[in-house]
Symmetry: C2
Subunit: 211 residues, 2 copies
DNA sequence: ACCTGAACACCGTTCAAGT
DNA sequence: ACCTGAACACCGTTCAAGT
């Protein structure tokens, strides 16, 4: 009765948290379970299937069923879901490599999409526009979390020699004008909140009729 | 003088276009160049360095220097850059796995960021807000292109048995109310344009003073 | 039903040796 | 300077065999 597949996914998740996604090989996973690599294939179709299972585990963890994110008006619920998702990726940065690769197809992923749909309907967004706005918001939220986890928002150690070259050639005019604001480090928590409130304003503006 | 590194990147890009990113191994790449795998390490630090070089090649291709995307007012330039980026990823879908992994650090990536900075400044966005809006827009645009290329926007073949189960249990209320709009297939070209115009409206609204 | 052992066709990378 | 050969320590997966 104790589903062997679940034990395998437990071990894979622990391995990924401890040593990163690259450390999750069929062989290493089998070792950790005290079993031969081939024994895994009885419960998992392939390594790709294993990774799909891993992503699903993460989504189970964050979908709001009887949690804070399920309370409040539509804006609270939408922002709550976004914050919970970001926090989940922060605790499992290895997931960044997987999150953009598969459609939201598992029952739990569909449930998360449904929370967004319901929030947008409650906000008064026309039904025709809801799926598009859902994709837009989820694309941004996943993108932000993945960018953070994979270092895309990191300071960016540009080769100073080349940078100076670009500056002197009269290039990078934008960077030059923004110099006062580019030196201070970014508070990504505050930035995420500002981005969210911008997106909520955008949702609100979609409830009014437009040409 | 003929830089050997450039020949290697040419071959790697061709290999990726023909057979996908997984086919780009040091051994296969060496084979294609008629050389021993170890010969590559004279011109490339590691496989990671090779992949960074590949991404850079893509960015060189799309940064607007004397092209359509460099013309027009700020909104045209911003939308042009987004469209060109999306088209680039569409022609090289293997890049999807790499685009979120490294900060925009190479000279060409910095140039692309600068085009966005300049557009936002011209739009009248306060300097303090420009870097945030640049990250927000680029995160969305990269996320959209990557989602498309990696199948996240694909129809989503949910297991019908499970889906029915969820429907009958009174779950997925959002999906149920949206059924009329969820059956027709999505025109992603039109959706991308609508998303872009929403983002441009958001930029405009940031030029007005807010609390 | 569930697991094992041996094997196949691959990886990235190091190191000493060649010219 | 540039390349090679052999080797190390890995991969995912197939297939026949064991209990």
């Amino acid at each position: 009765m104790a589903d062997r597949r679940e034990e395998i996914l437990d071990a894979a998740l622990a391995l990924a948290d401890e040593a990163g996604l690259d450390a999750v090989s069929m062989r290493a996973l089998a070792d950790r379970l005290g079993v031969t690599p081939m024994a895994l294939y009885r419960h998992v179709d392939s390594k790709a299937d294993l990774l799909d299972g891993l992503v699903d585990r993460l989504l189970v963890a964050f979908v709001p069923v009887n949690t804070d994110a399920a309370q409040g008006d539509w804006a609270d619920r939408l922002a709550g879901l976004a914050r919970t998702f970001r926090r989940t990726v922060q605790s499992h940065p290895w997931a960044a490599q997987l999150l953009f690769s598969r459609p939201a197809v598992t029952p739990d992923a569909v449930r998360a999409v449904d929370v967004l749909y319901s929030a947008l309907i409650e906000a008064g967004v026309p039904g025709r526009e809801v799926p598009r706005l859902e994709r837009m918001i989820s694309t941004f939220v996943i993108g932000f979390a993945v960018s953070e986890a994979s270092g895309r928002f990191a300071p960016g150690a540009v080769d100073p020699r080349r940078r100076r070259g670009q500056f002197c050639d009269g290039e990078l005019l934008g960077h030059r004008r923004l110099a006062p604001w580019l030196d201070s480090p970014t508070d990504l928590n505050a930035e995420f909140e500002r981005d969210l409130s911008d997106l909520l304003r955008l949702v609100e503006s979609t409830t009014r009729e437009r040409p």
